[in-house]
Symmetry: C3
Subunit: 450 residues, 3 copies
């Protein structure tokens, strides 16, 4: 039941994806997409490679890119994660065993209004907007539709190392519709074991079944089976929706109508589980320093399904020249996607050597392994990011400032460890009295203010 | 505390195993067996191979076969699972730390009846019959005895990829009695790392200890130690029981005597945990279509120990020409053992290509990986199977029929995705109104009946 | 949140480490140590190697050894565990997000006593003594100080195969202070992938950050940054503490002051979790035989944090010539460290062959894999050990004596399995009426006393 996808929405232009550097694949959704996501989460990808080569981290170009009728998708191989970032839209998730609880009146012409056949029934649909995070359990089918007036960009993490994935490390989604994508350009090395044959093959899941079997299973004729298999469809997997009337007036109120006291035990079946939460709103910040910026975290205490997914997310905003304190993540990897601005990130490994020290800007992705130390500093234009963490309650230990490990240690231990005076130990412990976000350029001082 | 063995019993002749094709090992028990099962469950076997080669699934011949005094055992290497299938019998499990709660009066001749030494005390013993599933935690010793009047066949799954196995992927059971088995014939490739030396070595666990140490530990003489080590025993590990009086009259009532309100906290120690449940009885079906057949599932809601074992089972019966809908397992692999009849199984991988499309019949085994799509269709003679699933609450999503993903999706999404009309979308959604089991040969129709 | 380190304390001379043979690394702490432990626990180390070569177990020499100003540390590569064994001392753990709840008055000269700046605040500190076990969650920083009058020896297990470790199998701790250690001598093969470059690099975690970044984050000058980075420090990572006044009078009473009813929900954050328990006191024995010895177990029922750590410990004492019964561990590996005396250990694998049969003595380490059978017999001088087990509630099944698998099995099963008489079966079951610890040399007898 563990899950994988976070869709984080922010208002950014589609063209920004040109030339962006990231280690992780992401998808751009412009119109509508229908797929059955085969997220092959496995223990070996991020978590537990038998020999991690973490000598030097870097940022890579996308290795594959697919052009569809109404959008483009770029993938970063070998990391098995996928990012989406962006406007507003509609998202549908097919949760196995759940009832079709939405009825929408379709607008067919010239038919009696009371006829049952003019109503469509389907499972719950969610509206999403900028700053929303969607959590999807492994193995569910889902689709999205952009009903806004601008391009829609989303960033998603697919955790193939999650316990929910009992297969290998490859990213193995399948599609319920569509056909062979046209591969555009392939830069960078391709995924190990990702053979040419496989990449060329992108028929939808129905494509592999015998036509007669499908005709019997659906009770349809073979012409319809061909449509189902989409063999002649060349639109790719992002298609332009010419008719899309799913949004009925009462549906707009769905958010207020969320049932409160109607739980009947079925929620365990995931049918009524909450899948969406917003972390973009500044009023939801968990850490706020008016001189430096803010951080909002989304963990399983706020969105309980994350306990099954063993994932969490963080939205960070640093003002100009502000610093997020050097720290290490004690129980998770952190995958940072820069959504705006620019800055500098330094990452230090366990042997005390720098493994990453570079300027980052919008569209770039940096991975911070568990227990590696990291510091972020915003440039003059500030720095914004979304970070995904591979633990539903990711914890970190700051190295400096008010909540740091240094403050938690007795003066005498610091004095002996660093061979410094008591005054120096006090400086180390108390010279910075801010917490996680540090304002820019304090004047250096050996006076502590504790 | 996670577990592994399911013993599924069905009435079938022993000879049927000749020439049967299966990917997984199984054991045939004809008389009595005593062993300490070293189930080396590990994360790497089914769950999480670093590079799955799931291009083409197939069915294999057993690679090893052992002849014993009173039975034969065949193994399918490289998959570390073991199947057993069969009449009725008696099963004993040694659960560590539990008391000997059964007292059976032994029938020794010419001794005073009241003497304490004429009573035997031992741990709980279970009777099993056709259709029973037994769940055994990792690391427990167990034995079985056929007290019926016909051959006993069982099918069992040993999950070496379970978290309970902290060792490697090999199947590493040990025996508490018996000695070197005579290997019969070895077809098929043998397991990687399964050296000739190892296969030749099958002494019981006492064999490896010094005789003097055992003599002291048991307080017995060295002649008895030789018996314990079974060095001269050539009967194999299925032996004919010439005296077996364990079944006392009152023991027959054991099933009714299961304690209901006597739990005292010790059940956590597994001493009183329920290990057996029947899924063969048609009245226990979870899915039933009088035109098509039935499915009975056994999950951790019905047999709580399965929560520790992270396994579940399914009994399926398809009538002639019936179909089990195309579907994918969202959170588990499925290992299907055909117990009767024949039919066709198609499996489709994530790239939309068929990886298995063949006729199957009694005795064959097919593995359906997580998130691969599968459809089963019975032949004229019907199809029966037992499936083991690697999750205690395995879930699946149908692709067609009343509970399918297609039904859960709005019409407009289908219309745009498949580029079809509203009428066609309605056909896709509503032309089959059965649930999981579909009756044979409906007349094709574009009229939906919703 | 799973954890790794056990510090087991016993009174033994520091010199004893010379020439000791063990498979696992340990550290000797003589004075004070400050480090951020990067315990990279992963599923692949002990638990789940893809191909275990468990044909022959043995004991090895340490492959690396580091000399520090005030102590020496030896490591056993390739096993990623670490042992510590020892006097008494003070231990500090930095738990992320917890407050500095200890205030100690520092003894600065010539300053006003009421000034707030003369008090030091830090997180909770624990005193430990011989027989204590400390449990540390993954990713926390910790340090230790020897305030006794004799060398302090500790043994610790670092479980890199724990779920808490999402990285690879290497032992990847980092230090918060200190610098490049001087490597002494390296015998034995070194860890795979442990390159020369890495071993030469041991700068502390601050070393990898830019000096300007640290100066700003700490609000200190660059001279202090150099101290923080310890670039000129040649004392190693065990240093002599010349001033260490952390122990205040009231702190001595800390053990009695442990809050009982003051829990406010924050304990979930680990701030007030119990990390220490003593298993050295004979009165805490779980198994006691006045003729043979005693065993004390520490599991998650006694120290709840072990549930997160998935580890447990056992303290065993065998009197002269006594035996711990042959048994197998059903759900855990057992890592045995001999703390005193000597004896013989036999280990038998699943194929019935001996994989270890040797004399062991103080300082040696033996690993017993899951489901392998093992027997220990003390020499004339007795045998004492500490065993770490890779399950928070490790279970074992004895092969002989009162609680054994043999006793749990009906007589008829034994009679048929070993082809013995009923009298012989009774001898096997009842000739030893002791439980886990067996006294020496009973006279062999075929008379059972049940």
């Amino acid at each position: 039941m563990a899950c994988t996808t976070f869709v984080v929405l922010s208002l950014c232009s589609f063209l920004l994806f040109d030339g962006c550097l990231a280690q992780l694949p992401w998808e751009s959704l412009q119109q509508q997409q229908l797929w059955g996501s085969f997220r092959q989460q496995q223990k070996h990808s991020l978590r537990g490679r038998s020999q991690c080569q973490i000598e030097r981290l870097n940022a890579q170009k996308p290795s594959r890119s697919f052009e569809s009728e109404a959008g483009r998708t770029e993938f970063w191989d070998r990391n098995n994660e996928e990012f989406q970032c962006a406007g507003r839209g509609v998202h549908g998730t097919v949760i196995p065993g759940c009832a079709e609880t939405f009825e929408s009146q379709s607008q067919s012409r010239g038919s009696g209004e009371r006829s049952r056949r003019f109503r469509d029934r389907h499972q719950k649909i969610l509206r999403f907007r900028e700053g929303d995070v969607l959590a999807l359990p492994a193995g569910v089918a889902h689709w999205a539709y952009n009903d806004g007036d601008q391009p829609l960009i989303s960033v998603s993490l697919l955790d193939t190392s999650n316990e929910a994935n009992q297969l290998d490390q490859r990213f193995r989604k399948f599609f319920l519709a569509g056909n062979q994508q046209r591969e555009q350009h392939s830069h960078g090395q391709e995924g190990r074991g990702q053979s040419q044959q496989e990449r060329g093959q992108s028929g939808n899941i129905f494509n592999g079944f015998d036509a007669e079997m499908l005709a019997e299973a659906f009770n349809i004729d073979t012409e319809m089976v061909r449509k189902l298999q989409s063999q002649d469809d060349e639109r790719g997997f992002i298609v332009r929706a010419e008719r899309f009337q799913v949004v009925s007036p009462q549906w707009e109120e769905e958010e207020q109508e969320r049932p409160q006291g109607e739980w009947n035990g079925l929620e365990e079946t995931l049918c009524q589980v909450k899948l969406r939460e917003n972390i973009g709103n500044p009023s939801r910040a968990d850490v706020y320093n008016p001189r430096g910026g803010r951080i909002s975290s989304l963990n399983s205490h706020k969105l309980p399904i994350l306990n099954h997914l063993q994932l969490s997310a963080e939205r960070g905003v640093l003002y100009r020249n502000a610093i997020m304190v050097p720290h290490w993540n004690t129980n998770a990897h952190s995958i940072i996607y820069v959504t705006g601005g620019s800055g500098r990130i330094q990452i230090v490994g366990n042997s005390g050597r720098s493994v990453f020290n570079d300027r980052v800007s919008e569209g770039q992705v940096v991975v911070v392994p568990q227990n590696f130390a990291v510091v972020k500093k915003a440039s003059e234009e500030g720095l914004q990011w979304v970070a995904f963490k591979t633990n539903d309650n990711a914890m970190m230990t700051p190295l400096a400032s008010r909540l740091s490990a240094i403050r938690a240690i007795p003066e005498e231990v610091l004095m002996n460890s660093y061979d410094i005076s008591r005054e120096d130990a006090k400086s180390l412990k108390y010279n910075r009295d801010e917490a996680i976000i540090l304002g820019p350029n304090p004047r250096p001082s050996r006076q502590h203010d504790a």
